[in-house]
Amino acid sequence: MNSLHMVSHEVPLVWYLLLSAVLFCLGVVGFLIKRNLITVFMSIELMLNAVNLSFVTFAHQWHQVKGQIFVFFVMMVAAAEAAVGLAIIIAVFRARATLAVDRIDLMKL
């Protein structure tokens, strides 16, 4: 069976995974602390792509095409999400003249 130590002649697998984890954490932190809706949105995209990176890594490691296919699905959903999300953002901006997340709180009790 393969193991993590068998691919020493290439960039080690762990580096890809670490990069993926760092990107994901950046996305989470950005999502939590940024106020601008567009930045929040970009943070979500960052998280999605961090996950994509780990998918691709594992697909390469296990010689499985399933991981790659899954990445295409994620990208497709992300594209659709971007289209809808940006449309909503524009609509919100037109209605409220602000994109500060904290101010968009009409549904709050």
Partner: protein, 643 residues
């Protein structure tokens, strides 16, 4: 089925269809259509009953007929209750009275109620009453009888409160319903006892069990009989539950005639006769029935002496006559009781309808002190009323002459208690004649004491029924108590004791003399010289006692109604409802509110706080999953299902 088609289930169903049609559509239908529906329904029922009666008469139909044309109603364990219609001698007679007199009174109502706002409502209720009454009479088991029993109570309530805009009418309806509920409670206990001891509610099966066990007397049978009799005292207005019937006169007069004189109030007598095999096994219960009956007869008759409202006189008279019927039942002379029930249905319906005609003529006046001199103004009403007055007073060869005499003779023949009760009955007969002739004189003789009204004779739709009932009141007794008893004997049995001829003629003579005595006193006191007022003034205590109906309503109010209301208000409402139940509800609501107040802080509505919780949750999960690998001894091993 062998034998001719009888269509027995249609007897109740046709009036029910009439009720549904008039009840749902009556408001939109023209009056003629409403009347047509309302009249055709009881007519069809009457024709069906008449057809069966003619078949019996001609000998081509053997009674009893038990029709089982529906599946069982209740079938639980060993208990079976079905919808069967039972036609025997007893129910045939009763059905003839109910549908026949019922139809006549429907016809009368068309004239009497023609100007009423709720014309369609009135006839819908009246048909509903006939439905339940025929269910009651046809019932082959005690539970179906109870259904009809409750149903006629409902119809009675609706019709007493027909003019519900009037407070007094609405209250009278409620009073009737509630007082009847007390009696119904007794009936229900009786049903449960029957079920517990016989395992069945079917009359024929209970009778068969008792026949198979001739030694069974007293004990639980006494309890059952007394419970059933409590029910009968409610429905048939006997002491101590008679108080609702006089108030029931708030309803329209034809209703008083049909429900509160001729048919519904006799249901108790019918029930006792129907379950006579139980009463026969309990001498104690029979004595109670006889004593209550005789006491009620006397008690109500004395109140009737001084009433001034024409309908109230008749109401107390009804209570009194029902007492006679129970006296008959109590001395096991069931056929005599049913015989009196029949003649009473004729003459009392006639009395009420004639009184209605008088009230109609005077534009709604019911107080006899403002009547008088109507003899020539409304001659047909006068003559028919005269027939009824003579009949109820036991005038020779009128209907009650035969039936009342049969009851009194049976009472006299049954032991020393019977002789006392016979004497009470005889005194009551005098009182009956007195108050009826008093009514007769006050209404029709002397000078008119009502100068505002212009009396007019009623339309023929009202006079026709009067004439028919007058003929029946005069001739209804000619069938003879003996022949009637012989006809009924398969249903209610025969009496062992019979009086010898001579004593029977003496009895007859005494009863007639009692009636004439009452007439004579009324004549002296009310015909030209009004000596009654002087007599009343000379005995203020006695007169007040009677005029206020022995203060029974007041006594009930203080002894029962007010304590009950106070208990309901202070204990049930304040303590149980408000404090305990309300407090519990508030407590539960408070707990829920408090929990909500704490948990709602979580739902801040702040998007980033949600996201933070999400991230935190994911991190915690990750720690849980990875902890064994990081701090424990496990090595990370990837397993791939595909390989």
């Amino acid at each position: 089925m062998n034998g001719p088609m009888l269509y027995l289930p249609l007897i109740p169903l046709v009036p029910f269809v009439g009720f549904v049609l008039n009840g749902l559509l009556g408001r939109r239908l023209p009056k003629a259509v409403v009347s047509a529906i309302a009249l055709v329904a009881p007519l069809i029922s009457f024709v069906i009953v008449l057809h069966a009666a003619l078949l019996v008469w001609s000998g081509s139909l053997a009674l009893p007929v038990i029709e089982q044309n529906a599946p069982a109603w209740i079938s639980v364990g060993s208990i079976h209750v079905d919808f069967g219609s039972v036609l025997d001698q007893l129910s045939l007679v009763m059905l003839l009275i109910v549908t026949g007199v019922g139809f006549i009174i429907h016809v009368y109502s068309v004239g009497y109620m023609h100007a009423e706002e709720g014309y369609w409502r009135y006839f819908a209720y009246l048909n509903l009453f006939l439905f339940f009454m025929t269910v009651l009479v046809q019932a082959g088991n005690a539970l179906m009888m109870f259904v009809g029993w409750e149903g006629v109570g409902l119809a009675s309530y609706l019709l007493i409160g027909f003019w519900f805009q009037r407070d007094s009418a609405a209250n009278a309806g409620k009073k009737a319903f509630i007082v009847n509920r007390i009696g119904d409670f007794g009936f229900l206990i009786g049903l449960f006892l029957l079920l517990a001891n016989f395992g069945t509610l079917t009359f024929t099966e209970i009778a068969a069990r008792l026949d198979a066990n001739p030694a069974a007397t007293g004990g639980v049978l006494t309890a059952i009989a007394l419970c059933l009799f409590v029910g009968a005292t409610g429905k048939s207005a006997q002491l101590p539950l008679y108080v609702w019937l006089p108030d029931a006169m708030e309803g329209p007069t034809p209703v008083s005639a049909l429900i509160h004189a001729a048919t519904m109030v006799t249901a108790g007598v019918y029930m006792v006769a129907r379950t006579h095999f139980i009463f026969d096994r309990s001498p104690l219960a029979l004595s109670v029935v006889a004593i209550v009956g005789a006491a009620t007869a006397l008690f109500a008759a004395t109140i009737g002496l001084v009433q001034t409202d024409i309908k109230r006189v008749l109401a107390y008279s009804t209570v009194s006559q029902l007492g006679y019927m129970f006296l008959g039942c109590g001395v096991a002379a069931y056929s005599a009781a049913i015989f009196h029930l029949m003649t009473h249905a004729f003459f009392k319906a006639l009395l009420f309808l004639a009184a209605g005609s008088v009230i109609h003529a005077l534009g709604g006046e019911q107080d006899m002190r403002r009547m008088g001199g109507l003899r020539t103004k409304i001659p047909i009403t006068f003559w028919t009323m005269t027939m009824a007055v003579l009949a109820i007073s036991g005038f020779p060869f009128m209907s009650a002459f035969f039936s009342k005499d049969a009851i009194l003779a049976a009472a006299f023949a049954s032991g020393s208690l019977g002789k006392v009760l016979w004497f009470v009955g005889l005194v009551t007969a005098t009182l009956t004649a007195f108050y009826m002739f008093r009514l007769w004189y006050l209404t029709f003789f002397g000078d008119s004491r009502n100068h505002g009204a212009h009396p007019h004779e009623s339309p023929w739709s009202m006079l026709g029924p009067l004439v028919i009932l007058a003929v029946l009141s005069v001739g209804g007794g000619w069938i003879g108590a003996r022949r009637f008893g012989a006809f009924l004997s398969p249903s209610v049995g025969t009496r062992a004791e019979e009086l010898s001829g001579t004593i029977e003629y003496v009895m007859m003579g005494l009863a007639v003399a009692a009636g004439f005595l009452g007439w004579y006193i009324a004549h002296r006191m009310y015909h030209r010289a009004r000596t009654a007022d002087g007599l009343a003034a000379s005995m203020p205590v006695g007169h007040n006692l009677l005029a206020n109906k022995y203060y029974v309503d007041e006594i009930y109010s203080v002894a029962i109604v007010k304590p009950l209301l106070a208990f309901s208000k202070y204990v049930l409402e304040w303590i149980v409802d408000v404090a305990i139940l309300g407090g519990l509800a508030w407590l539960l609501a408070g707990i829920a509110n408090l929990g909500g107040a704490i948990l709602q802080r979580w739902q801040s509505g702040n998007l980033r706080s949600y996201a933070a919780w999400l991230a935190l949750g994911a991190a915690v999960l990750l720690v849980f999953v990875l902890a064994p690998y990081v701090w424990g001894s496990s090595a990370i091993v990837f397993n791939w299902a595909g390989h």
